[in-house]
Subunit: 451 residues, 2 copies
């Protein structure tokens, strides 16, 4: 898990290009952001301090550009080109009003094969009616021509404002040029191009053995508000050179999100655009990786662990970049009647404005935690409830813990990470979710975003 940055750093607003996120790659370096113009001028104090060097993934080439969708002087379109035979899997928002790109991807997933991914920031192409469907079709047509493949192998994602028509003609020429210059290269630049209110790009990587071959998993994510994924976060893309068949990849993805992206909430608001796509180029087969057709294949064990680590790492970074966040909050519920019950109680706590504002105020207000447990509607017995903040038990057996020292707890609440543990004492159900605090900055960011 990434560590914590000691303070807030200001972006260096140079434009586009392929500047590295970091000045160096040591474990405790100063951050120097390049290539980003964001709505936010400061980086979350919870941003990871050590950002991994992202290796190339055989069979994947990347390029970014300024298409002028909404922002000025920053990249806003990413093209990822995959080799022939790349398998694709995806999970999407459960919103009843999904964006046009979500509907496009759902339809194209049936083929199981991908040649390109086009992502734009600045406009979500959501709630844009017939125009939205025309935009996705036009974007896919331009991309298919640029890459030289069928439109059925093009995957699309858009993020940004809802309800504004997306002028896909802006991709004309742009995607062709990107297809020409795409190279195995710059994952940080790719992660930057898909940001909206994010204050830092989010990437993760793992390399593991599959059979006797080494395979790599790279992932990126964006998202800072409207985050309570209900199958996936707003946008996240994971790539691997492992040779995994589409159905197996889909199964891995579906089980992988449950305790990662689906266990994160910023504000309880589920986006219309949540999209998590995984691409497996299979290029590692050339140096001996076995071809995998079942998610349950025992040879996949190390891969599954690494794959979930990548998803978990990205999901935690999303929580660390919650709009206005100053505290990362980890909520563990144990002793529930089931894992599902523990999840609902943990989410009730994580989405409570009163709990979140108390944490912003560094107040170990366990009374509000009791309230959130009580309103979850799940089995709970007040007189068996215990609650701890950062390892200090403040309540037990349905009342204040007589041994608890207010000064000690207050000191502990100053840490940038606050762990709340609730023990229900009913059964063996346990779950964990991540969120962040609710600050005045969240209100400021979201009171001014559109206008």
């Amino acid at each position: 898990m990434p560590g914590l940055a000691p303070g807030i750093h200001v972006f260096e607003a140079s434009h586009g290009g392929k500047g590295s996120w970091m000045a160096g790659t040591g474990p405790a370096m100063t951050m120097s952001f390049a290539g980003i113009i964001s709505m936010s001028s400061t980086v979350s104090p919870l941003a990871p301090t050590d950002v991994p060097a992202m290796p190339a993934i055989a069979g994947v080439r990347l390029a970014t550009a300024e298409a002028g969708i909404r922002y000025k002087n920053r990249t806003d379109v990413l093209l990822a080109v995959m080799d022939k035979g790349t398998a694709v899997a995806g999970v999407f928002t459960k919103s009843k009003c999904p964006s046009a790109p979500v509907e496009w991807c759902r339809a194209k997933l049936r083929g199981g094969k991908a040649r390109a991914l086009v992502v734009n920031s600045g406009n979500a192409n959501a709630f844009t009616g017939k125009t939205g469907r025309q935009s996705t079709a036009l974007t896919a047509a331009i991309a298919a021509k640029a890459v030289g493949c069928s439109q059925n192998e093009i995957f699309l994602a858009s993020t940004g404002v809802i309800g504004e028509p997306l002028d896909a003609s802006k991709f004309n020429g742009v995607l062709g040029r990107l297809a020409d210059i795409a190279e195995p290269g710059d994952w940080m630049a790719a992660a930057r191009a898909i940001m909206t209110t994010d204050t830092f790009p989010k990437v993760a990587t793992r390399t593991v053995k599959l059979g006797k071959a080494r395979v790599t998993i790279n992932g990126m994510a964006k998202g800072a508000g409207m985050i309570m994924p209900d199958m996936a976060t707003m946008l996240s893309f994971v790539f691997t050179d492992a040779p995994i068949a589409p159905a197996a990849l889909q199964a891995l993805l579906r089980s992988g999100v449950e305790d990662t992206f689906n266990a994160v909430t910023i504000d309880g608001d589920t986006s219309t655009s949540d999209t998590l796509l995984a691409f497996a180029t299979g290029a590692a087969a050339a140096h001996g990786a076995p071809k995998i057709s079942r998610a349950g294949d025992p040879r996949l064990k190390a891969f599954v662990k690494a794959f979930r680590e990548v998803l978990g790492d990205l999901a935690e970074q999303v929580a660390r970049d919650g709009e206005g966040a100053r505290k990362l909050v980890e909520i563990t519920v144990e002793g529930a009647v089931s894992k599902a019950s523990a999840r609902r109680i943990a989410m009730s706590i994580a989405n409570s404005p009163l709990v979140k504002t108390a944490i912003a105020g560094e107040d170990a207000n366990w009374g509000r935690v009791v309230m959130a447990v009580g309103k979850a509607g799940e089995p709970a017995n007040r007189d068996k409830l215990s609650i701890a903040f950062n390892g200090i038990r403040v309540a037990k057996s349905g009342a204040r813990d007589p041994s608890y020292d207010e000064a000690e707890v207050s000191e502990a609440m100053k840490a940038p990470k606050v762990a709340i543990k609730v023990s229900l004492g009913l059964g063996k159900g346990r779950d964990r979710v991540l969120t962040c605090d609710l600050t005045k900055e969240y209100v400021a960011i979201n009171g001014d975003y559109r206008s």
Copy 2:
């Protein structure tokens, strides 16, 4: 429905006593608050400008005092004494971790009769374990002795901090003195004594014919945060001199809350203490009001309407005093598959932090309304959806309304009340909920409340 105050008024912090809420009783007077020391020093700009003159209710006597539960220099305990034969009904929080007074009242409701109500502010006596149950028993014993009745006719409510033991011995002497001085009188003083973060006392009254007699309904409420009642608001008490049997009163109350208190949310957080009690002294029988034993009695028609108006009026005042609120927000959902579905969608919109912060920013951000419709999980068809803000349609048939004028909408959003209407185009289900915006002040109030 009350009108809107033009601005923010500062409390005059004189102490205790029976000062009137208002300097006068005309429809457009300046407010002059007396007798309140609140955590908040300003009155909500949404406070009603015309506060009703509260008539006496035959069979009810009131008194307030400073018991020093938590606050200094303000009243924090209310005693209401009712004549023998008073019927009582109640609805309470659905929280799985209810407060000790809620458990007390639930048990005592079985008798259907009440002689006294004791309410304290400053301490909710919630999550206080065995000590909490001892506190309620001691309070009831002191009150029963003071009034001269059985403990089974004592009803209790507490509001304030959760998890702190309530020292009920502070009521010793106090309740006896209050029982001596109680008089038919000062409803405003009563409403003030039960406030916590409320910025104004909340009262409502109606007088109607029951048979040939006139009967009166008086109500009071408190609540400003931790408000998403799940049977009732935090605390509300309604009194009438109508002769209505307990079972009939209970039926009236249960149906009455559905579209009033249960249709209000401030922050989606359901209190451990939500309590709504109704008392019917029956004193009006002496001047000819018929004794009512069934809620469906046709003679009750005007009474039922007035009773719901009192509940609705109080519930709206709770929304108007939402912590940090600057806008009253009315959300109407029509064309849903059922009323229950419309309610769930309306609540999803009302509890969305992104919708609420947009309204604070006076931004008609209908994209976020779409998001909230989508995440509700109820039947909705994006391409049939229409949305209007304060009567101006901004979206229709799943896309931006081409005729909508951004400047006109921006102007309309400056009003202190924002009405959002969502038309789903699926069926005849319709519902309406009230909420308020989410401002930096909400975060400030709740980041500092306990410490």
